[in-house]
Amino acid sequence: MSFRIAAAPHGHSQRRTSDMMRWVCYALIPGVLVQSYFFGAGVWMQIMLAIITAYVTESLCLVARNRDARSGLRDNTALVTAVLLAISIPTLAPWWIIVLGTAFAIVVVKHIYGGMGQNLFNPAMAGYVLLLVSFPVQMTNWLPPTTISQYDLTLWQTLHTILFEYTPAGYSVEQLRTTIDGITMATPLDTVKTALDQSYTLSEIYQRPQFSVLAGVGWQWVNLAFLLGGFILLQQRIISWHIPGGLLAGLLVPALLAHLFAPSIMPGPIFHALSGATMLGAFFIATDPVSAATSNKGRFIFGLMIGLLVWVIRSWGGYPDAVAFAVLLANLSVPLIDQYTRPKVYGHQSGGQNG
């Protein structure tokens, strides 16, 4: 009789990387549903385009690197990258935007750095930044939420716009964003930034139609839905609280202090928490384990750094939102953070340094 030889341990918890990635996708569902409610079904089309691009490029890369493409795709990491990038870009962005961004994320950011587990930067955010600096117009053309927009695009009109950059009736995205009064509707973060530059006070800005009780119309619900998804991830122990906790602390504490100090020009913590990509970034993007710090202390510092950078860039930078930039800058600091946040090894007096 021949006996099977195996290395200890012989049991294994039944959660694999692919399951974790699948859970991330499930937890995104509430946010995407709300997003498609407020910004149209375009988000689903972007997701489809991104997934197709990701799977094609991932397979090509794996084959080119002499890896088994089928088992490589099964880990679902490309899926998560694709979905995250697709929901970060404007819903009516032309098709080549998402295809280019996803391909860049998979081929350059992930595989050229050595494939799964080796990438220094968060692939979705590196792809996003590439698109943002290369195609600023397409990447900032966010439609106003459908509830306050004068246009309500059908599925066909949405698809037509993504494919050909114009609606069947010939409207460009720019025209779709314009109200009856001829004013272009910007995102709440953008609106606040521009209006503050024009010396409006916050209380005046908040009177505009795209603002609601908490923050921007639509955006606040999208953020709350991603927050809900984040709680699902926490509950399922896919992520720990340290990165989102650090990020929200780094963003909201300075926001609160600044708001108390200058209430008319510094938006408060609720506005920051529920605007832009805050919740998506805190629970889904910054928590990418590959490009984040590894110890719990390190994770908290990593999150804190992202939050602080987001607040600084939103308040004084040239861009209305900053999650992608902040995440990439924090990715760069990860080796340093990891070096200094090693936990104390059992029986050693000081940290991991040769105690």
């Binding site: 030889i5 195996a6 049991g11 990387t17 974790m20 799964m116 936990p343 059992y346 040769n354």
Partner: protein, 545 residues
């Protein structure tokens, strides 16, 4: 010291970082009473059964031995003697496969039982408190007792230093899934275990005994509670179930709130830990005068139709245990010696039970699915979260794969206790412990090679010095010989001159001539020999030294 005392006096349970909660699966084996097995056809007793060198064999093939008779002499301090687990005949002393993941053969005494169970003389010592401690330690040593919980460290050696011990910790935690040998022993032999604990306390002069049991063994807790009832010097500590809380360092942190400092032993902070099974063996050795001949082994796993705990004589082939456990092999069966976390699979079942064999686990692949293909590390940190030593397993894994041994040592690879928690949770199913073991072995090899090379260098340098010294001495000798020759020639010259001028001395000449000629010949021969030797010394083929 003060800290530990106040912590223990408060009666609280501390925490250690990390740990996991795998399915415990102590059922059904823990519910079945301990049983004795029929004698196997032969017992295989490897000369080396524990940490430390093997002993010297006292018997030869064909010898009739009695139960409890000493078979080997432990001549070194680290060794332990071995005894005949039953009476019978020595049928072979040869290489046999051992209880090791490799199954590599080692020298073993093979005993064929005669079934008569005739005891050799034993010396019970119920009144051990009258003895001096050194003789009790000696008794434990000659009974061949090694730690029955884990690594099998000789118990006497742990007791020998006689440092001041504040707390004697008796480890009845048994945290690894499936294993319930100590559980069963505590349920059935509580009084004897307590007696053993008291002997250990007497020998170590420990102020107090802490008995630790995990809260998933309510029956064992109840049995021990009853046995220690009214004993003020023993406190029972019930600790929450978590793997690996039974690890020595982890249990110390749980019970005392202290960590054993790096490069130190529990002894250095006034603690001594012994396993419950060891306490039982100590009681049998001292009070009943029986050496260590058998131990409790858990037979479990869904491929066993008759699971349970059995008294297995040392040397019992695993084959025999499988038979007795009603092992029904399915496709590609696994036989694990030890538990699911730290045990190893056996390539063959003709290997014997040794002092540290606590469990034979035969799981089905539904029960403990085989590991899937290894995927890339995504740095999720799940391993670091569960590491009881607070290491960074993902970092160690990268370094181990890169063979960066210096960095591995700097990141304290050797503090890894190989509990397997990291590999258990790894979502990418990386066999992390396997990488660490390999790296540790390679680092040890490198250190050994280095030591060898250093020794060779020293030897080479010494040899060079010696050759140089000899050369100088030779030259000195040559110089002296040459001088002597020169002097002699001068004298001879002088003598001839004188002879010519003084013919009266002519009768002395032949004798003088003769002696100087002999001296010259000796000097010539010496010089020739020295030259030959010098040539030999410089011969490059000569590598004898």
């Amino acid at each position: 010291m003060r800290d530990i005392k106040s912590f223990v006096d408060a009666g609280v349970i501390g925490q250690f970082p990390g740990g996991i909660h795998p399915p415990e699966r102590k059922q059904p084996a823990n519910a079945i009473p301990l049983r004795r097995l029929p004698l196997p056809a032969e017992l295989v007793l490897p000369l080396r059964q524990h940490i430390g060198p093997s002993g010297e064999c006292l018997v030869k093939v064909g010898d009739q031995v009695l139960k409890g008779q000493q078979l080997t002499e432990a001549h070194l301090s680290q060794g332990l003697p071995l005894h005949a687990p039953t009476s019978g005949v020595i049928t072979a002393i040869e290489e046999r496969p051992t209880a090791h993941a490799s199954g590599l053969p080692e020298m073993a005494v093979v005993l064929t039982p005669d079934g008569e169970e005739r005891w050799s003389t034993s010396q019970p010592l119920p009144d051990y408190r009258q003895q001096d401690k050194a003789s009790l330690i000696e008794r434990i040593q000659s009974a061949g007792i090694a730690g029955l919980g884990g690594a099998g460290f000789p118990t006497a050696q742990k007791l020998a230093p006689q440092k001041p011990i504040q707390y004697l910790i008796i480890n009845g935690v048994e945290c690894e899934p499936y294993i319930c040998a100590d559980d069963r022993l505590m349920r059935e032999k509580a009084d004897e275990i307590v007696a053993g604990m008291e002997i250990l306390q007497f020998i170590s002069s420990a102020e107090h005994i802490l008995l630790a049991i995990e809260d998933n063994k309510p029956e064992a807790i109840a049995a021990m509670q009853e046995a220690i009832d009214g004993k003020q010097h023993i406190s029972l500590r019930i600790i929450p179930t978590k793997y690996p809380s039974g690890g020595e360092k982890q249990l110390i942190e749980l019970l005392t709130g202290q960590q054993v400092p790096h490069h130190q032993l529990p002894l250095d902070i006034g603690l001594l830990m012994q396993n419950t099974g060891t306490a039982y063996a100590v009681k049998r050795a001292i009070i009943d005068g029986e050496p260590l001949l058998e131990r409790v082994v858990t037979l479990t796993g869904e491929q066993m139709t008759q699971p349970g705990n059995v008294w297995a004589l040392l040397g019992t082939p695993i084959e025999h245990l499988l038979e007795q456990g009603g092992f029904k092999a399915t496709k590609s069966p696994r036989v694990i010696m030890g538990g699911p976390m730290m045990g190893f699979t056996l390539p063959i079942t003709q290997v014997p039970v040794i002092k540290t064999t606590n469990c034979i686990l035969t799981p089905t692949s539904q029960e403990l699915p085989a590991a899937g293909p290894e995927m890339a590390c995504i740095r999720c940190g799940a391993c670091a979260d569960v590491c009881p030593a607070s290491l960074q397993p993902q970092q160690l894994q990268w370094l181990a794969k890169a063979r960066d041994y210096d960095a591995l040592e700097q990141q304290n690879l050797f503090d890894c206790i190989e509990c397997g928690a990291c590999a258990y949770v790894c979502p990418s199913e990386i066999p992390l412990v396997h990488y660490y073991r390999k790296a540790k072995a390679e680092i040890r090899n490198i250190a050994r090679e280095k030591a060898k090379a250093e020794l060779a260098r020293q030897r080479f340098e010494k040899r060079q010095q010696r050759l140089e010294r000899e050369k100088q001495e030779r030259l000195e000798r040559h110089r002296k010989a040459a001088e002597a020759r020169k002097k002699m020639q001068q004298e001879k010259q002088q003598a001839t001159n004188e002879n010519e001028s003084q013919p009266a001395e002519a009768n002395k000449k032949p004798a003088q001539d003769k002696s100087s000629a002999v001296a010259a010949a000796i000097a010539r021969a010496k010089a020739k020999k020295a030259a030959q030797q010098a040539a030999e010394d410089h011969d490059p083929k000569d590598t004898s030294s």
